[in-house]
Amino acid sequence: MNPSVGDELPELVKHPTTRQLVQYAGAQGDFYEIHYDQDFARSVGLPGVILHGLLKASFLGQLLTDWLGVRGTLKRLEVSYRGVDQPGRPYRCRGRVTKVEGPHVELEVWGEDPDGNRTTVGSAVVEIK
């Protein structure tokens, strides 16, 4: 079925843990201490360790590729990190189709904390086969 403007993507809820942040730090090779050292994170004014922005981008990437499957190709993913997120709190990833022009489809995507704050906002372009 072809996407239409206004279509909502099936929501993806992630449950990040401190363990996952350490796993991600290793897999990405980003060892900045704000992602696993509570004392360091607080020393730079954060409430505690926080999720990597790029981990949140990965969640939104999964939201898109789960929805798209083999129907098409992801051409662009752009995200802005507007707030910090801490492990132990579920992260809801959502999206909506904003434009359809033949095979060219644009979407807005975002990640929400449990209080409903959109701490990551972005857009994507996909091409339907």
């Binding site: 990040p16 796993q23 290793g26 730079v44 922005g53 990965s58 990437g61 999964q62 752009e78 990190y81």
Partner: protein
């Protein structure tokens, strides 16, 4: 003034490319990356998921000299553009450069923005993806 000179030194690097980094996409690395992001789609055993390229070569240089400004880094945003899929065994060369450096002063103080751009080219000489990232010192 010290802070001004940090910005001047960083601005002098705008446009200049860092030494390219070449790495092969390994099956074990893809698997570990997919596990770390919690995406168990079997497709990612063979193909790079959307953000994998940042794990192959650093997406942004945490420029040591920028650390004279503020007390910590934040990631402001990322933009990935995909040209063709990246598969296990591909040999990718990443070339990064500083695209822009500027300071913004808001209600909560001053922030330094550093815009990084990275181009990823495969073993056939074709661009497979581009990444733009915003590093913030605060």
């Amino acid at each position: 003034m010290a802070i001004t000179s940090v910005i001047d030194r960083l601005r002098a690097r705008i446009g200049s490319a860092a030494p390219p980094i070449t790495a092969t996409v390994e099956a074990g690395h893809l698997k570990r990356f997919a596990e770390a992001i919690g995406d168990n789609n079997p497709r990612w055993l063979e193909e790079a998921p959307p953000t994998f390229l940042v794990a192959l070569a650093p997406p942004s240089m945490h420029l040591a000299e920028a650390e004279e400004y503020g007390k910590g880094w934040l990631n402001g945003g990322n933009r990935f553009e995909y040209v063709e899929p990246v598969k296990v065994g591909d040999r990718i060369t990443a070339t990064g450069r500083v695209a822009d450096v500027y300071e913004k002063t808001g209600s909560s103080g001053s922030l330094l923005f550093i815009i990084f751009e990275t181009e990823y080219v495969n073993q056939h000489g074709r661009t497979v993806a581009r990444l733009r990232g915003t590093g913030i010192r605060r």
